[in-house]
């Protein structure tokens, strides 16, 4: 067991634990905060995977924007539920079963895969993943088109969100 393995296990356990709290905590504010924790755990995992850029973006975008958005939304709609009554619907047990089955199925599928125990390759010397990513994102040979499409999607979502949430009275 290497240090990396230990760090992974600790972080993964914390992440899954907080994720569990996200889906189970009665208080939505708490759930949103647990989400922040989860996201943070995921960011650490990115870092472990040498994907520094992703880790940073995870923190900036997810925790800094999305999670805060959730908290706003929760606060805007809190009036009724007030965290009272069951937070899970009546067929939660079926959901749980299905989730377990899904998990089992996924694991079961992975189990027989030959590359399952693939070990991590070395990073070639002089390879800068961030600059490579930047090149890939804007290079006409690579992903400039999806990148632009994604930006349009964001714009459309922005306009759409404003339109949908706009209070017409």
């Amino acid at each position: 067991m290497t240090i990396a393995q230990i760090i992974f296990l600790v972080v993964a356990g914390a992440t899954l634990g907080s994720a569990f709290m996200v889906v189970t905590s009665r208080n939505l504010i708490h759930a949103a905060l647990w989400l922040v924790a989860t996201l943070f755990g995921v960011a650490v995992q990115y870092a472990l995977l040498n994907a520094g850029f992703l880790a940073v973006v995870q923190v900036v975008v997810y925790i800094g924007a999305i999670a805060i958005l959730f908290i706003f939304a929760v606060m805007l709609t809190r009036k009724e539920i007030r965290d009272q009554g069951p937070q899970l619907n009546s067929s939660w047990w079926l959901s749980a079963t299905l989730s377990v089955v899904t998990f089992g199925g996924l694991v079961g599928m992975l189990w027989g895969w030959k590359d399952m125990a693939h070990t991590v390759p070395d990073i070639p010397p002089g390879f800068d993943s961030i600059s490579a990513l930047g090149d890939a994102l804007v290079s006409p040979d690579a992903f400039v088109l999806p990148f632009e499409v994604a930006s349009i999607l964001l714009l459309a979502a922005l306009v759409g969100a404003v339109y949908v949430a706009f209070n017409r009275k």
Partner: protein
Amino acid sequence: MVPLSWYLIFAAGLFSLGLFGVLARRNAVAILLGVELMLNAVNINLAAFWRYGTITNMAGQVFAIIVFAVAAAEVAVGLALVISVYRRHNTVVADEIDMLKW
């Protein structure tokens, strides 16, 4: 070092938890929370496959970034919808939002 399988199992777990949240939570906002979990699980897979595959091929990371963008858009529109529904029907309980039924 950490084998690929660990990441994959971790992502599957996160995904399943998110799935449970989506399926079982009553609050619409909480459902969206579940969705975020699932998206994150996917992103972990993408990053892991990038790291364990041909490292010079940046498709994994690029995909992950696009997923970020999609997630941001999804949350923005999703929450806008929830707020809009909440304004109209004064509820965010998913079971009660059934205007699309027959």
